[in-house]
Assembly symmetry: C5
Homo-oligomer: 90 residues x 5
């Protein structure tokens, strides 16, 4: 999984039927020092309560769909946890 | 999923049988500020109505095939939504 | 899928049994302006007629195996189309 | 698989039900010379005994879930070995 | 698949049960001109006879496990061929 911060959301009328009712959030990936790295991704919110500013971890690739209900949806990024704390041993 | 903008289309006579009749579009990936990033990909149009200039989000990897009918096709990028609006909280 | 140009081929005697008889080509990925980008990949030729110099599109990740017959082979890049024309709307 | 070093752990209350009880560690990917490269990932600890400072190898993509019990979990990075020694022939 | 050169091997006592008895090699990915590019990966040796210095091609992502026996193992990189010759048409 990767760390990211929720930056906003995506509104789409024309979309795959498997995505109707799914919350789609803009997530900025973060590096080890929690600085922005790379481009925002559009992730489904599998925990249903992530919001702007939250530090989250998201799963990518085929496993993202495992977090959704039902599972056979064209989703390749999903938020699967909201981070309370990071314990770092440098 | 990633944000992208439709830039054109691909014409191919010799192709995998599973791709006959499929619309293949050139999509330029975009970064957080909607600037071009990386190289264009060739994506199947799963929503069937994306056109040049549209801001879309596309799914990559194995899940792209989930957006197609039938599903067992060699597709690893598919457009699954046309963006109406992005709500960004910087 | 990604755009690429066929640059050559690979000869291997010792290989996975699932790859015997498979044509393996060296493919150079191309960017939006059809310039070389990144490193050559070794792709199976699923259309069976790609040759040196051809502009092709190839599928990566797990879906590449979907283009092969039989399907359960350790292949993660496959050429699935030869490009006749690109229509680009800049 | 990739080489990495365990840097810490992640605490999350709100998470996917499939992740309850799973140890999630922060892993810094390493390059050929064992220097940091890229950003930390959040990996499940499939060997159940990796700790801060350990040199490990982790599996990414869909295969990471194969290392977990049960297997149908939204995990895309898992630690599957702790390195005792690297034999390098430069 | 990608081209690489075998650089060494990995010794691990604590590892996933599915990896017991599997040869794990350090492989340096190569670019089009056979120069080092990116970081070494840890790949399972599916051809069972790759050794230090060999020019090989390896498969990544979920398809790597297809090269192994049995198949349900947490492996995402596997060597599936030893290169005898590359025919390059520049």
């Amino acid at each position: 999984m990767n760390l990211g911060r929720v930056r906003g959301s995506v509104v789409a009328t024309v979309k795959d039927p498997g995505m109707v009712g799914m919350r789609l959030l803009l997530v900025q990936p973060l590096d080890t020092n929690r600085q922005d790295t790379g481009s925002c991704v559009v992730a489904a919110d599998a925990v249903l309560q992530a919001g702007p500013g939250d530090l989250v971890y998201f799963v990518a690739s085929r496993e993202a769909a495992e977090a959704m209900e039902p599972r056979f949806v064209p989703v390749d990024h999903a938020i699967v946890g909201i981070v309370d704390a990071l314990e770092v041993h440098p």
